[in-house]
């Protein structure tokens, strides 16, 4: 960004809103991204907030941030470094200084840069100097005092007044990026329908910020980011949790079944349950159970009763569900388990993102207990992989674990609304009334899938349970040979799903020097890195996995097409280990990060280049 006072066109821009947990930064960021999205930009967002509801004011630990990346071409990540930072206090500056592009614009609330606050943030004296930001485009705005000024005649209490400071900042950003205020105003009008004074106050402050930015000298230019060149269609902004919830509902609709979700709140998965609880209009039954075990076991009960059943959680909750998940495995009931991963071990970093539950998902159960596993890779495609998890569960009569994580759960991007009627119809193997010689464990010889006889159907009364069962009859069996056979059947049934999933595709070069490998939420960063490397002339491809168990049929082939393989993941190398276990003949280089944060594109590129040069 240069310093001319004119209208400048940008390909993309990264803005970071940052302040105390109480400063409303999440809302500010969301409103900005919604406006950008409605104007046709491609966007990606990343909220990052502390584990406390209200962490101590003014400290770095209490900073809440919301990063949004908008552009007119494919936006895949929320961006590594910011072009514009809004810092509501010194701590916000401190926390974000190292995440800025050289020469970025920094707007801060100078009213809050008091000696006391500066010290609280851990600075000695002059924050700008200490962080060597002198060459940046610094805009010290009196946000607090001008907000007070704007509202002085409204007779509001000071708490309410201060609470609308964030709208002042938002107004400034709207001016800076040439955005209309109307979508945000409409939001106020709808949200505070019954509190006209709140609507008025917010609008006043928003405008005050907008006009202030127009007036002052400090802003040398305004910018436009043209609408993205994206596929035609109806779009909406969506985060991963909502997309997951909707994908489950869509699967139930396409299966002609009611959706049942037994769950227990846990960060960062709670949003799925909250969204589903809203969807009573679509017949969704949500049971907020007494704990995670009841969450999954009520769902298993509902599955037995013939509904499409799911349960949602994060790592510690999944640990608690392990025993019951084994019950779903041996009873061969359809069940979707959503694991929104977060930083571990134990309570770990509950609001941060990580990919460290893979091993737990694959094997965290007693006995030989195979489940199918899929992973979403962007906020919006959580919709499709939730749908897919539902499809596989219902059609293959098996528990399926859908893995997402905190980054996907809270991140947003535009979502091209699909035509539901064109999505595959889901056909669970429901046993019709009147079936002769029904046996609960009789299987389709091709898929090894057993039939699903729904309680209430006359003539199909049967019993299932957690003890080993006789082939076909499903009666309890202690026969050694039968146990071995059933163990193989259960494994093979899940393995056979490979015939029902797409081949693994390679993006970028189809063969060459380096294959980047990833899975889950790292997609945006990996594909950006791959594209940039390709643009630099490197022979680099990307194999990003959404199907984890079984792995796609051509995985071996894909891995064999490159001289080197770099597996990038937000853990200590679990997927790399898993690949090694399955395809030991390749050497797997690893890029691991375990900081509760997504990769940056640069980190990936650097590591890739190092490998290419070796």
């Amino acid at each position: 960004m240069t310093k001319k006072r004119e209208l400048i066109e940008l390909d993309d821009v990264v803005i970071r809103f940052s302040g105390d947990s109480g400063d409303g930064m999440q809302l500010t960021g969301t409103l900005f991204s919604n406006t950008a999205a409605l104007l046709g930009n491609d966007i990606a967002t990343f909220p990052d907030y502390p584990a406390e509801i209200r962490a101590p004011q003014g400290t770095v630990g209490g900073v809440s941030g919301f990063q949004v990346h908008i552009g007119h071409s494919d936006i895949r990540t929320p961006g590594d470094l910011a072009d514009v930072l809004v810092a509501m206090n010194p701590a916000a500056l401190k926390a974000n200084a190292r995440w800025l592009k050289p020469g970025a614009t920094i707007i801060y609330d100078r009213d809050n840069f008091t000696p006391k606050n500066i010290q609280k943030a851990g600075y000695k004296e002059d924050p700008i100097a200490e962080d060597r930001l002198q060459d940046f485009n610094i805009i010290p705005a009196p946000i607090t005092s001008l907000t007070k000024e704007a509202l002085k005649d409204m007779g509001l209490d000071m708490k309410t007044v201060l609470r609308s400071k964030n709208m002042f900042a938002l107004g400034m950003i709207y001016w800076l990026f040439n955005r209309p205020l109307k979508y945000t105003e409409e939001f106020f009008q709808q949200k505070f329908k019954r509190k006209p004074e709140v609507v008025e106050a917010n609008e006043k402050v928003l405008k005050a910020g907008y006009y202030y930015a127009e007036t002052i000298e400090a802003l040398h230019s305004t910018y436009v980011v043209k609408p993205a060149k994206i596929e035609k269609g109806v779009y909406r902004n969506i985060n991963g949790n909502t997309a997951t919830a909707w994908g489950l509902i869509a699967a139930a609709e396409r299966a002609g079944l009611q959706l049942f979700v037994g769950s227990y709140p846990i960060t960062p998965a709670t949003g799925i349950l909250e969204e589903l609880a809203l969807r009573k209009d679509l017949g969704v039954i949500t049971v907020q159970a007494e704990d995670e075990i009841a969450g999954i076991t009520t769902s298993i009960g509902a599955s037995f009763a013939g509904l499409m059943a799911a349960t949602t959680t994060s790592g510690p909750g999944l640990a608690l569900k392990s025993e019951a998940l084994g019950l779903a495995v041996i009873t061969e009931l359809p069940l979707v388990v959503v694991d929104v991963q977060r930083g571990g071990p134990s309570t770990g970093l509950p609001t941060k993102t990580e990919q460290s539950d893979l091993m737990q998902v694959l094997w965290g159960r007693n006995g030989e207990s195979p489940v199918a596993v899929v992973a979403a890779s962007t906020p919006a495609n959580c919709f499709y992989y939730a749908f897919e998890a539902g499809r596989l569960a219902l059609e293959h009569m098996t528990p399926v674990v859908l893995m997402t994580d905190g980054f996907l759960a809270n991140g947003t991007e535009p979502f091209r609304v699909p035509d539901i009627e064109k999505m595959p119809e889901i056909k669970p193997p429901i046993v019709p009334e009147g079936t002769e010689d029904y046996m609960p464990y009789k299987r389709d010889p091709g898929t090894l899938v057993r039939g699903w006889a729904i309680p209430g159907t006359p003539g199909l009364e049967h019993r299932i349970g957690g003890l080993e069962k006789d082939e076909n009859t499903g009666n309890v069996s202690y026969d050694p040979a039968n146990h071995e056979k059933m163990t193989h059947i259960r494994a093979e049934k899940v393995a056979k799903i490979v015939e029902d999933i797409p081949e693994q595709k390679i993006e970028g070069e189809q063969e060459g020097d380096l294959l980047l490998v990833g899975w889950g939420s790292t997609y945006g960063h990996l594909v950006s890195a791959m594209e940039e490397l390709k643009a630099e002339g490197k022979k680099v491809g990307l194999a990003h996995f959404n199907y984890i168990n079984p792995l796609p049929a051509n995985t071996d082939e894909v891995l064999g097409k490159f001289k080197k393989i770099l597996v990038c993941e937000l853990n200590l190398g679990q997927f790399a280990n898993y690949l090694r276990m399955n395809y030991p003949k390749y050497e797997y280089h690893k890029l691991n990060k375990i900081q509760g944060l997504p990769f940056t594109v640069v980190e990936i590129k650097d590591e890739a280049k190092k490998l290419l040069e070796e």
Partner: protein, 341 residues
């Protein structure tokens, strides 16, 4: 459950599965199985509407012996699985089979929550005061001092009284019966089935192998009439071989009195009312212990209250009616969307 459409005529045999019953000879579970089969045959509910759900334990093998839909779950989760089944399909008649370990040790949380929510299930708690299946360790209902494999010097912890716990968890139905008393059991199970909401029935069950005679003092033929009192609505609380003993209230305490002595007549004796919401008297009745008092059997508490499964569906139906969003397509197009052309 009140689904009485399509009445059909069954006998107990129609509820027997083809699986060999594998409890020890002499185990109280055999009689309970028989009582349940008789009850179901008489309720006028079609066989395919029954779902029998259990946890793990000797008692939890129960579903295998029933010709209904059945689910042998995992240890402690019978009530939670049942909550799922019933909430998913309120049209089913759900019977939860559980033991004192299954329901009160590992499954204690699900029990108190199913009771609080008042899910319309019938929960039969086989209380043999021991872990049978794992061969004889103490349970949360083992009497203090009981010597078992894990308490070789006697337990040091006081037991739960299931009825007390259930009432403390806002329970609306609690009954007690005895394994061998098939007539009473059928009567009590029938009431449990009729009650809408969580019906908890404690069954005093004898484990011949690991806790034989746990209830002998109150169940042996000679003394049972003097040591048990069968409670029935509207009937005075009279008991004893000669029906000459009764219960009266003395301040906040229940007192055993002799009819005919000290001028006490039948009219002075408390009359049972399982339908009052105030749990005070019911609590005292479930707490009665021999030898100071007779042990209460029959339906002790039976209070009407909304059920969870119905409420869930009523709410869904209401929102469905009110909302403009009728399907996934509506939802996808609701709120803030924009069109790229």
């Amino acid at each position: 459950m009140s689904t009485e459409e399509n009445k059909v005529v069954y006998t107990a045999k129609d509820f027997k599965s083809d699986q060999e019953v594998r409890w020890c000879p002499g185990c109280g579970d055999h009689a309970i199985l028989s009582s349940v089969q008789r009850t179901m045959a008489q309720l006028g509910i079609r066989r395919e509407k029954y779902a029998v759900i259990s946890g793990i334990g000797c008692s939890s093998r129960f579903p295998y012996y029933m010709a209904t839909y059945g689910f042998h779950g995992i240890h402690g989760r019978a009530a939670a699985i049942s909550t799922g089944v019933k909430t998913a399909n309120p049209d089913l008649s759900v019977w939860t089979i559980t033991g004192d370990g299954d329901a009160l040790a590992i499954g204690g949380n699900h029990l108190i929550h199913v009771v609080r929510r008042n899910v319309d299930i019938n929960l039969l708690l086989f209380n043999n005061r021991i872990y049978g299946l794992t061969k004889g360790q103490y349970s949360p209902t083992s009497v203090k001092g009981q010597v078992t494999k894990t308490s070789p010097y006697g337990t040091v912890e006081p037991p739960f009284n299931p009825g007390e716990l259930v009432i403390g968890a806002k329970g609306k139905f609690f009954a007690r019966t005895i394994d061998g008393d098939i007539k009473l059991s059928v009567e009590v199970f029938t009431e449990a089935a009729k009650h809408e909401g969580t019906s908890v029935v404690e069954i005093l069950q004898n484990c011949v192998i690991y806790n034989n005679g746990a209830y002998a003092d109150i169940t042996d033929r000679e003394h049972k009439e003097d040591r048990q009192i069968v409670l029935r609505d509207g009937e005075p609380m009279i008991f004893g071989k000669n029906r000459d003993k009764g219960l009266m209230l003395d301040g906040m305490q229940l007192k055993v009195v002799k009819i005919g002595e000290n001028g006490i007549t039948e009219k002075d004796i408390l009359v049972h009312d399982s339908k009052v919401n105030n749990p005070g008297l019911h609590m005292m009745l479930v707490n009665m212990k021999w030898p100071s008092h007779p042990v209460a059997v029959g339906v002790i508490r039976n209070v009407a209250a909304p059920t969870y499964d119905t409420a869930v569906h009523v709410q869904i139906d209401k929102i469905k009616e009110q909302s403009p969003i009728k399907n996934m397509t509506d939802l996808l197009h609701s709120g803030n969307t924009w069109v790229v052309k």
